[in-house]
């Protein structure tokens, strides 16, 4: 067992556990977005940044940092709240997240995080770049306007379904999640149509066709259930 403290609380953790897992067991909530139980951690969104006091105040992503003996972790502080808010605001400014006009309105992780972290407005200028919607798939659609590039769909497809249909193309804010080598989703030869990517998506970027907003509630927990062959709840 490894002993560490998070927000001043002494915690025992298993070797190989991440700071996020240890915090969760201790009942300490750390906000996450790109992390999803059942998928490999990626540390992409930086919302779970925590400060390790005895590492010179270094900021590390809780989801991808293994616990170490004697770690003194700060998970909640004014500095961290400000950093998390800034990250969220950049995500909102980067693409066209218009909650009132989104299929995931009311059950979106990005929208919930904004409320949780007290984001009442976005201080950065919005980019308003034009992004497209691909509705070529028979059952599902992808709206790049809503994508936060968390990669949960990419990992769900590769790690759980084993199809590796999704991947990233482009660079920086122009990065797109694309099927196969940029084919319209409906023409993908590798997509099995399982829909795990849709369930994994935290926003309205991936959605089921023919379903109203109130019917679009997703079940991201199925990824861990399938991966660990848990009995269906």
């Amino acid at each position: 067992m490894i002993a560490l403290t998070i927000d001043g609380i002494r915690i025992q953790a298993e070797e190989g556990e991440t700071v996020l897992q240890a915090a969760k067991r201790a009942g300490i909530r750390i906000p996450t977005l790109c992390y999803l139980e059942g998928l490999s951690p990626r540390g992409a969104c930086r919302l779970c940044l925590v400060e390790v006091r005895n590492w010179g105040g270094r900021l590390v992503p809780a989801c991808a940092t293994p616990v170490q003996e004697g770690m003194d972790v700060v998970a909640h502080s004014p500095r961290l709240l400000e950093l998390r808010r800034a990250i969220l605001e950049m995500l909102f400014a980067e693409r066209n997240h218009i909650c009132a006009f989104c299929v995931s309105n009311g059950h979106c992780e990005l929208q919930d995080l904004a409320a949780e972290l007290g984001m009442d407005h976005v201080r950065y200028p919005y980019r308003w770049l034009p992004f497209f919607v691909d509705l070529s798939h028979a059952k599902y659609g992808i709206d790049h306007n809503r994508c936060v590039l968390c990669g949960r769909c990419v990992r769900a497809c590769a790690e759980v379904e084993g199809a590796a249909t999704w991947g990233f193309s482009g660079r920086g804010i122009f990065t797109l999640v694309e099927a196969d080598l940029g084919e319209p989703w409906g023409k993908s030869k590798t997509c099995t149509g399982c829909g795990k990517c849709v369930q994994a998506c935290p926003t309205g970027a991936l959605f089921e066709k023919g379903k109203a907003t109130s019917e679009q509630r997703k079940k991201p927990e199925i990824l861990a259930e399938v991966k660990e062959r848990r009995p269906r709840a």
């Binding site: 909102f92 066209n96 218009i98 909650c99 009132a100 006009f101 989104c102 309105n105 009311g106 929208q111 919930d112 904004a114 409320a115 949780e116 007290g118 984001m119 009442d120 407005h121 976005v122 201080r123 200028p125 919005y126 308003w128 770049l129 034009p130 992004f131």
Partner: protein, 175 residues
């Protein structure tokens, strides 16, 4: 205690926030006891008055008239509140922002010379529908599309009592 001088303004929005304001129902009586509505789309007053204590601004800054008016009310009002998602983020009004202003107007009106393209009887449409804080300093943000009457009251009641409003958690939710 003199009555608080409150104004409400309607820019590029659907008036849903004002409908939600009217949804305050019997709470409007308490509002009327503590405040005087000195300018509003639901009151027949032509000029935005001087010395306004609090102004709730619904809608994004979509055209030259909104821009002109917002600069004026910022000078005349002590406390400016972005009222609803369009005022806070641009929201539905900003759906046109990734597209060209000219293309949007020509497509919508089906003519080469649509109103709003240039300054005329209809004010000129700005290239982007802007959130208020992109133009002037904003004192408070009241998100929601529309913010529910309960949320509006949670915000407004402390203001009427001379206290600082503080919305948090679920009361900040967009959409």
């Amino acid at each position: 205690m003199p009555k608080l001088r409150v104004a409400t303004v309607w820019f590029s929005g659907c008036s849903g926030c004002h409908m939600s304001f009217l949804d305050l129902d019997e709470r409007l009586l308490e509002f009327a006891e503590r405040a005087e509505l000195v300018f509003s789309p639901i009151a027949d007053i032509k000029e935005f008055p001087e010395d306004v204590d609090v102004v709730l601004v619904e809608g994004a800054v979509g055209n030259s008239e909104h821009l002109h008016m917002l600069l004026e009310i910022r000078k005349k009002a002590k406390v400016l509140v972005a009222f609803g998602d369009c005022a806070v983020t641009g929201n539905v009004s900003s759906l046109r922002n990734p597209l060209s202003r000219e293309e949007v107007l020509r497509t919508v009106y089906g003519t080469e010379d649509p109103p709003g393209l240039e300054e005329g009887e209809v004010p000129k449409l700005l290239p982007h529908a802007l959130p208020l804080h992109a133009v002037v300093p904003v004192d408070h943000f009241l998100p929601g599309c529309p913010p529910s009457a309960d949320r509006i009251w949670k915000f407004l009641r402390p203001v009427l009592l001379g206290q600082k409003p503080a919305l948090s958690g679920p009361d900040l939710k967009f959409g």
